[in-house]
Amino acid sequence: MPLTNRRILVVEDEYMLAQDMLLELQDAGAVVIGPEPSVARALMRINEETTIDAVVLDVNLGGEQAFPVADALVAKRIPFVFASGYDDDAMTSRYPDAVNCAKPFSFRTLMRSLEAVLP
């Protein structure tokens, strides 16, 4: 299983969604970091963790845009998947290589997207 023991950071402000993702990822064998509900927490986590293989990143975090997090990830060359309620090209034009799993996503889609971005 490609996700086995992979360290996946989940950044999602909705508690219940975050919990669901956590369970799904764990079921897939991944090691979940987080989940983190805000930009500040997520950035903190990215700095603290020595190894993050990939990130699932919600675009809207309690009314805050998640782009600073995405920028930090780009800088650290950590692959990530957007989990977004938005269908737009602002994001794709800013992060042309990012994969977006539009909400509401099926966990299967999310897993596949994560597998695809993993190095």
């Binding site: 402000d13 909705e14 508690y15 219940m16 969604l17 975050a18 919990q19 669901d20 989940p35 509900p37 809207n60 309690g62 009314g63 845009q65 309620g85 938005y86 269908d87 737009d88 602002a90 994001m91 539009a102 909400k103 509401p104």
Partner: protein, 934 residues
């Protein structure tokens, strides 16, 4: 018998008159060749005319006898006068028939001469006396005559009577032209003489030679036989004897008088002397008379021309000039027709004519019949003079016929020239041949010149009058005031009627008095100095244009005028007059100011640019909004108040403007009064010239900041809705999953899931009911939840709600918070305070700020009077609710929570941060960043 007879005798034998004569008769034949045996008429050929009929008589039996009969006999080749007594008698034969003529003859010449001498002396004496008397009479007669022809006739008549001549002929010689003007002075038979011109060539001969040499010609008997051919020519005119006396002037013959006699005559010295006296006297008188007449004519000519000039000079109408001139000329020259017309091609079109005593002639006349030689002269513009059309050989037959048809016997035409262009033709025609005198020709030529100059003057004047008239009409029709002032006195010399309309002042009133100062007084005081300064400048040769106001005395209204004043100079360049045009700008000004009002008051920033982006003008609104002066905005200066981020796009939009034919851009402009940027939509349209080339751009910048904000807000809302919906779906799914996990069977799931979905629905309803800045308050949430289960009705004692109504919650927090409260309520209904009769739920809430000034909502959920199950007993369903309180709220809302299963019921406390200002975060977000994604 004959031969021996002492008297001269001859016989003419037979009808041949065979001559037989004796010695005595030989003397008669002196100077003649031997005549014996020759016919008698041949021997006396010079007298044969007289003799032949006499001889016939003799043969008829008659005899003739003559005494002192005069004969011109040829002796030695010379004609000589001789006198004879002679008789002619028949010689009969035996039968009595006449066979010959017997002539007895005796010359009496000597005797006759002797007698004549005696008589002659008396005659000379008498003749001398008569001659003196005649000359005196002649002098008297010539003195009173006022006409050359009359003088000649008087002299000729007197001379003719005196000499008993048949004819007196006076001629003037013009050797240069080879002609003699012959005046037939007097005829004895009373016939009327008429003048003639003869060509000397035709009479060339001894006579003329003699005369030209200044010698008197005397011929007593001209013949036959004729000694000269010219004698014969004269004889044909019936002249038998001729006495012709010439007068010489500087060795040239000028005049002569010829005395003709129809019979042979002996001209005496006295005759010759008399004729010489008469001709000299006549000539002297003619010369004197002609000199006087020439002087008089010359004076007349000048008088006529002066008078003509005077008359023509006063005429205004071009048509009158030629009309009057042709009549004057016709009268003056006493001719039959004077015409003035124009030559077009080879046709003369008569415009004016005076006709006297001849029928009318065509007014359009082709000159072609006059032949190329004449046409050439008409084209060259020479004076064409013909004295006698019939004798004018240079005119073709056709031309002569044409002239004859018009009764033209003589004419004198002058072509009028103006700057080497033919302009007219003056024609003077006489119905009789006429020797145009040089004075007449001069008169015609000068008259033509005067007509020409008068016409030119009148035409120029007419053109000038027309020009003046046009100018006057222009002036009177003009809506503008057109005026002329004297540069010295500044008084109006010319002022058009538009003045009255504009100034509301009577024209005459305006001109009265010192009208320059009156005019200045009409100008409003603020503009008066400008007006007088401008006038001063025009006086110094400058052209000016300026605008000023006048106050109309009639109604006190103000009129705006624009003056264009210019100097009018004389030949030396001195300013003599000031011309001006005053245009009423009032309406324009008003319209302009209305337009300006519009431009300056529309809620837009208006500006114009020449090259794309280079402003040339900005409306006051621009300055008001940006605080930038109009001057500073010019060129690219307007970019300064533009948001730095928007400057490049704005420039780029201008870069496309020319190609696209319009400019459209949206950029932020800093508002001076607030210091913040506002979004403007800017559009500009080009103004093109007739070649479609862009000359200028007109633009407006419209404030769209509010619209953009609304649009941004709308976008946020749409996205919020989208976000909320997607989250909701996730929540529904998640709720379903959890409910499944905690349900024992499907009916259990159905009941639990419905409850939770209903709770979610209530939250959505609360959220969707919100107005713009509305907030769901905590009171809303708790009421909605307890309403759903019927615990807020009046009379319900088991629930106490205690807290402020106005604690707003962030929308993003409402859903999870509501779910948590729902789980708490459900648990209370199923297992806690609201299930049992003695239970009580007390919900208290309040707001507190911490040290960081963060406001917190504190909620205290306190159930009491509940009989709690034993530890480890059957599940009380708190799993889901508790998880939400203890995990979800802290995670998602940064809340601080406690959850305690106390002895008489659940106690739960929730503290969550709320907005400090009580303002909607959506609003804030939209304001700070209109683009929710930017």
């Amino acid at each position: 018998m004959i031969l021996d007879h002492p008297l001269p005798m001859a016989v003419g034998w037979t009808r041949d008159y065979i001559t037989i004569y004796n010695d005595a008769y030989r003397e008669m034949l002196r100077g003649k060749p031997e005549a014996l045996g020759l016919p008698l008429l041949e021997v006396w050929s010079e007298t044969s005319e007289t003799a032949a009929p006499l001889f016939d008589d003799v043969f008829a039996g008659l005899s003739h006898r003559f005494t002192d009969a005069r004969f011109m006999v040829l002796r030695g080749g010379q004609a000589e006068e001789a006198f004879f007594n002679y008789s002619l008698s028949p010689l009969r034969d035996d039968a009595g028939d006449v066979q010959g003529i017997l002539i007895t003859s005796f010359e009496t010449t000597a005797k006759v001469h002797a007698t004549a001498k005696q008589i002659g002396a008396e005659k000379v004496l008498r003749a001398n006396g008569e001659r003196q008397s005649l000359l005196l009479q002649l002098s008297d007669a010539l003195r009173i005559k006022s006409d050359a022809q009359e003088m000649i006739e008087a002299a000729a008549r007197m001379l003719g009577h005196q000499l008993g001549a048949s004819r007196i002929v006076f001629a003037e010689f013009d050797e240069t032209n080879g002609v003699a003007n012959v005046f037939f002075g007097w005829f004895a038979d009373g016939a009327m003489p008429f003048p003639a011109v003869i060509q000397l060539e035709e009479y060339r001969g001894a006579i003329v030679e003699e005369l030209l040499a200044g010698r008197t010609v005397r011929i007593d008997d001209i013949g036959p036989p004729f000694l000269q051919p010219d004698h014969e020519a004269i004889a044909k005119l019936g002249v038998k004897a001729l006495l012709s006396v010439p007068v010489l002037l500087r060795d040239r013959m000028v005049v002569n008088i010829s005395v003709h006699q129809h019979t042979p005559r002996h001209w005496t010295d006295e005759d010759a002397a008399l004729v010489k006296e008469v001709v000299e006297r006549l000539w002297a008188n003619l010369v004197r008379f002609r000199a006087e007449r020439a002087l008089r004519d010359s004076q007349d000519l000048h008088h006529f021309l002066l008078s003509l000039s005077d008359t023509l000079g006063r005429l205004v109408d071009v048509a009158d000039i030629a009309e009057i001139a042709v009549h004057r000329l016709c009268d003056r020259l006493d001719v039959n027709r004077v015409r003035y017309g124009e030559i077009e091609g080879d046709t003369m079109n008569v415009r004016h004519e005076c006709v006297r005593g001849v029928p009318p002639a065509p007014r359009a006349l082709s000159l072609a019949p006059f032949g190329s030689a004449f046409l050439e002269r008409y084209r060259a513009g020479a004076l064409i003079q013909v004295n006698d059309v019939a004798a004018e050989t240079r005119l073709p037959e056709m031309g002569r016929t044409a002239l004859k048809d018009m009764q033209v016997a003589a004419f004198c035409d002058v072509v009028l020239f103006e700057e080497e262009k033919r302009t007219g033709l003056l024609v003077v025609q006489s119905a009789t041949p006429r020797n145009w005198t040089s004075l007449e020709v001069e008169l015609i030529r000068n008259s033509a010149e005067r007509i020409r100059s008068a016409l030119k003057r009148a035409q120029a004047e007419a053109a000038l009058r027309e020009g003046e008239e046009r100018f006057r009409q222009f002036g009177e029709a003009s809506q503008d005031v057109i005026w002329i002032r004297d540069a010295e006195t500044l008084q109006w010399q010319y002022l058009t009627p538009a003045f009255e309309k504009i100034y509301g002042l009577d024209w005459a009133e305006a001109l009265a008095g010192d009208n320059y100062h009156s005019w200045l007084d009409l100008i409003v005081p603020e503009d008066r100095q400008l007006a007088s300064e401008m006038t001063r400048r025009v006086r110094h040769g400058e052209s000016v244009a300026f605008e000023y106001r006048i106050r109309r005395p009639i109604d006190g209204t103000i009129r705006w005028l624009r003056n264009t004043d210019f100097p009018i100079t004389d030949a030396e360049g001195n300013v003599r007059l000031i011309g001006g045009i005053s245009h009423d700008l009032t309406q324009l000004r008003n319209a302009q100011s209305r337009l300006e009002e519009v431009v300056e008051n529309i809620p837009q920033l208006v500006w114009r640019a020449d090259d794309p982006g280079r402003w040339t003008w900005a409306s006051p609104q621009w300055t008001k909004f940006t605080g930038q002066t109009e001057e500073d905005s010019r060129d690219w200066g307007w970019l300064d108040p533009i948001h730095p981020d928007d400057r490049a796009p704005a420039r780029a939009a201008w870069g496309r403007a020319e190609a696209e034919g319009q400019f459209t851009a949206e950029y932020r402009i800093r508002e001076k009064s607030t210091g913040s940027y506002r979004w403007f939509q800017t559009r500009a349209t080009p103004l093109r010239d007739e070649h479609d080339v862009i000359r200028e751009w007109f633009g407006t910048s419209t404030d769209i900041d509010d619209i953009r904000r609304l649009q941004g807000r709308q976008q946020v809302l749409v996205e919020e809705l989208q976000h909320r919906t997607f989250n909701l779906m996730g929540m529904v799914r998640s709720t379903a999953d959890r409910t499944i996990r905690s349900s024992v069977n499907l009916p259990d799931f159905r009941a639990k899931f419905r409850n939770r979905i209903d709770a979610l629905a209530r939250v959505q309803r609360l959220l969707s009911r919100l107005e713009d800045d509305g907030r769901v308050t905590f009171a809303d949430l708790i009421h909605a939840e307890l309403d759903a289960i019927g615990f807020t009705q009046a009379g319900e004692q088991r629930v106490t709600l205690d807290g402020p109504d106005d604690v707003p919650l962030r929308s993003s927090t409402v859903q999870i918070f509501a779910m948590a409260l729902h789980e708490l309520t459900t648990n209370a209904v199923k297992y806690g305070a609201l299930r049992q009769g003695g239970g009580h739920l007390h919900v208290r809430w309040w707001v507190e700020a911490d040290e960081q000034q963060q406001r917190w909502l504190h909620v205290d959920w306190h159930e009491s009077g509940v009989t709690m199950p034993q530890e480890g007993a059957a599940p009380t369903g708190t799993g889901q609710g508790r998880a939400l309180i203890e995990k979800a709220l802290p995670y998602q809302l940064h809340a601080k929570t406690t959850y305690v299963m106390a002895a008489d019921g659940v106690r739960c406390s929730i503290a969550l941060p709320i907005s400090n200002r009580g303002q909607a975060e959506t609003h804030d977000a939209a304001h700070q960043s209109p683009d929710p994604r930017g």
